[in-house]
Amino acid sequence: MTQRPTLPPLLMRLPPPPLSRPVLGLALTAFLRRIAAREPTILSRLGPYAGSRFLLDVSDAPMLLLMQPQARRLTAHSRHAPAPEHDAAIRGGLAAFLAMLHGAEDGDALFFSGELQIGGDTSAVLALRNALDDAELDLTEELAALTGRPLDRWLRRASALVARKSGLVLSRQEVMA
């Protein structure tokens, strides 16, 4: 039988600063909304799964998110009501979501290690993961683009600081040869 794997050392190192998680939860929401609205290659990679409804259950976030790529829609739903109808679900901590989005962690590795759990249409989740991976997204840059000058420069600095303190992956991981 498989053993309980250890968390990536990066994620284990420090407890997150108390304020960062709700803020980041909101940022993630804004981010995903922009993904849904903007990335045509994500939609074409999703292919037949572009019309699927993805429930994103980020355990640190106050709300459940429902992502519908084709409709370019992202909605928030209360945790106290029954979950909205969906075709596929991904559950896990914010750190794991962000790590996957930014290509800092392999999606397969996150699934194998149980940090992300999937339910419903497994194919749709795979398609989403592969499409996001190819899109080379960057949460910090997206937010910077969203806020515009002069906040963007501050945001990039702040993001680096939060990332260092929290161990959360907030920027695209560049590949060093």
Binding site: M1, Q3, D108, A127, V175, M176, A177
Partner: protein
């Protein structure tokens, strides 16, 4: 130096592999013509052209895997894939089906042909037969062979050999397995998928996580423990002998993945030309990390330095690694 052949499921992964030091990248078209026909994966014609340009500009090669077995009555799709790979500047195509290889050899005499692991050419006779009949230039050896056998094969053949050193491990001879279609109707040979996600269901039942493939329970783990992807041959099953003594466990293979890092010097000595990393379905992050580590390993091997160990343990499925059939005791 041994050639490092690295996977790319997406254009982003191709760039990551090239930037991380891959000598060669292999990829496939987004349809049934390749053996990693997974949702959201693979290349359009345009993306392949861009990928080839990116790789060539940096001195890397691109191989296109067209390694499923064409469907009867529908061979044109596969013939088109070969023609497009040639037209778009692929350095070689990786093929498995004898009919398709015969077609490629006739229709594209200038195109370099590699024999896919899916062709399961497991002895010098088979390899020489493909080389003499079709002009195959390289063979990807099945993962059923030991290092000693690979050495012996290389003594008897003239074509290059390529072996898998890292990633998912098939315990069966590749290209000769219908376990997946037995459980789901979809197979690597026909559809380019094994234990496809479309037939996977996860559920929590009575305090356990369960993973099913089609109608069959493949894994059951207590809640709180990760449940592995239900790849059929890595499943947990039970079997009783004639006396009623029953065994439960991974009857075919533990959910381990291949890591032959420490065998690289032996494989080099065995005359192996290229080392292949499995994982076109993995992310660019994974690809970058693995490629970097293996580039360092082949450079170390070139200088006779010891192999770096355990660099990649966390990236392997279920965090366990094996050297597979390369060590004879695995059998």
């Amino acid at each position: 130096m041994m050639e490092l052949v690295c996977p790319a499921g997406t254009p982003a992964a191709l760039r990551a592999a090239v930037d991380a030091g891959a000598h060669t990248v292999y990829c496939g078209f987004a349809d049934e013509t390749n053996a990693r026909n997974f949702p959201g994966l693979n290349f359009s014609r345009e993306e392949l052209a861009e990928g080839v340009a990116y790789a060539h500009a940096r001195g890397a090669h691109v191989l296109v895997a067209i390694n499923t077995f064409p469907r009867a009555g529908d061979q044109a799709l596969w013939h088109r894939a070969v023609a497009d790979a040639a037209r778009l500047g692929a350095d070689a195509v990786i093929l498995a089906d004898p009919g398709l290889i015969a077609h490629a050899a006739n229709a594209h005499p200038g195109l370099r042909l590699h024999l896919s692991v899916q062709a399961a050419a497991a002895n010098p006779d088979a390899i020489n037969f493909y080389a003499e009949t079709f002009g195959i230039r390289r063979v990807v050896l099945p993962r059923v062979l030991s290092v000693e056998e690979i050495t012996a094969i290389n003594r008897e053949i003239d074509v290059e050999t390529e072996v898998f050193v890292f990633g998912g491990l098939c315990v069966m001879a590749e290209g000769r397995c219908s376990l997946s279609s037995y459980a789901t109707g979809l197979s690597p040979n026909m559809n380019g998928v094994c234990s496809p996600a479309s037939h996977v269901a996860y559920a929590d039942v009575a305090g356990n996580h369960e993973a099913r493939l089609g109608d069959f329970l493949i894994h059951r783990t207590p809640k709180g423990m990760p449940v592995p992807y239900p790849t059929l041959c890595k499943g947990c099953f039970t079997s009783a002998d004639g006396k009623g003594d029953s065994q439960t466990g991974h009857i075919f293979e533990d959910p381990a993945s291949l890591d032959a890092t420490r065998l690289i010097p032996a494989l080099q000595k065995a005359g192996v030309r290229a080392l292949k990393i499995e994982g076109r379905q993995r992310s660019r992050a994974y690809v970058a990390q693995v490629v970097r580590a293996f580039r360092a390993a082949v450079e170390a091997a070139e200088q006779g330095a010891p192999m770096p160990e355990g660099l990649l343990a966390r990236l392997t499925e279920g965090q366990a690694a094996t050297t597979g059939a390369y060590a004879k005791t695995w059998r």
